[in-house]
Symmetry: C2
Subunit: 212 residues, 2 copies
């Protein structure tokens, strides 16, 4: 479960209270019940940590199945990427913590690998889909959105181009309202929103496009 907090991309980790890997940090998750599919299961697992309505997007990442990935009985994990908008601050249990993805604590099992795969997927999809909606509040200024994209991608993006690219693709639209200017003056920023809050591919083919 990823969220941009304090200008950094962070992941919700849970400190293990049992062996193996006692006290190491692990991803939330759990066993699959017999009457649910993996997507239902992950939502149920996460519901134990946060309010599920705050989850703006969930998608399958990959299967991790190395026979010795966890000690003891064979355990196969289907990893998911979950996203939470930057403006919510979920109540989380005492044994969990938000950790910056680029400065992870020592993780249990292969969970570091999973987190890095999640970050990579997120970066890629921010570029060719409207996935930003899942990290952004319902309404936001271009500056705020710039901060969110910069944190998720790991490098600075230019506000002017961000707005233009997203507007051209029709994923961003002005609400017509503005925020008050900051304490040191300046033009009041306009508020924007995403036109859709469902995942859509906006830049499907870089090359080898079908002919008209």
């Amino acid at each position: 479960m990823l969220q941009v907090r304090d200008g950094r991309l962070q992941v919700l980790l849970w400190q293990r209270a049992q062996a193996p890997d006692l006290h190491l940090w692990s991803l939330p998750g759990g066993r699959l019940a017999t009457d649910e599919d993996v997507a239902t299961s992950i939502r149920r697992q996460l519901a134990e940590k946060v309010d599920v309505r705050q989850l703006s997007h969930v998608e399958q990442l990959a299967v991790f199945s190395a026979p010795a990935r966890v000690p003891g009985a064979r355990l196969i994990a289907t990893a998911f990427l979950g996203l939470v908008p930057a403006d919510v601050d979920p109540v989380i249990p005492a044994d969990t913590r938000w950790c910056a993805v680029d400065d992870l604590p020592e993780t249990a099992f292969d969970h570091e690998e999973i987190v890095l795969a999640a970050r990579e997927r997120l970066s890629a999809k921010l570029s060719y889909t409207n996935l930003g909606f899942a990290l952004a509040p319902a309404e936001f200024t271009v500056s705020e959105l710039r901060g969110i994209y910069s944190a998720a991608l790991g490098y600075q993006v230019a506000a002017t181009n961000l707005q233009r690219v997203l507007s051209r693709r029709g994923v961003l639209e002005p609400t017509g309202r503005t925020m008050p200017a900051g304490p040191s003056g300046g033009r009041p920023p306009a508020l924007f929103r995403f036109t859709s809050r469902d995942l859509q591919v906006t830049d499907p083919f870089a090359v080898f496009r079908p002919p008209n």
Copy 2:
């Protein structure tokens, strides 16, 4: 397992000899052993159908886990995309057949959905990676490569642009040799090869590139 055959993208299907879904067509696969990961397992399963050395690429697709996706005991499938170069014609068992992906027979369970997901993944990766190497022979003319890309993508691509895009990206290189001209004359085509036969992303970010 996908291959371009006779100018069409085809998938190797196996006709079930048992209920449920008797006589319907299904994807090759089988159960995961306790001492292997899913990638190893799929190679083992496919080895029962063809010579594994002919598999030029294998990658994870997605997990299919709907509780009722198969009748009877709960069964969760990790689907894979496997590719075979167009110039090999593997010996296949009598109960299997190559079927055109855009004209599938009635499939068992949710296997049609899996095949369509595989085709989509293949199309996308042909555009932004060097994955063509997995469908093409070791050496080929641009015309042949054009046929392969056209079949896999489902629409005609122009030979001239195909060569230019792949050359610019450095994924294609001339061998220096040529093929004899066809029966009706014409300039003898040059032979090309892929510079690498490992998957590489050649067009990583459409937008929001990191600054220089």
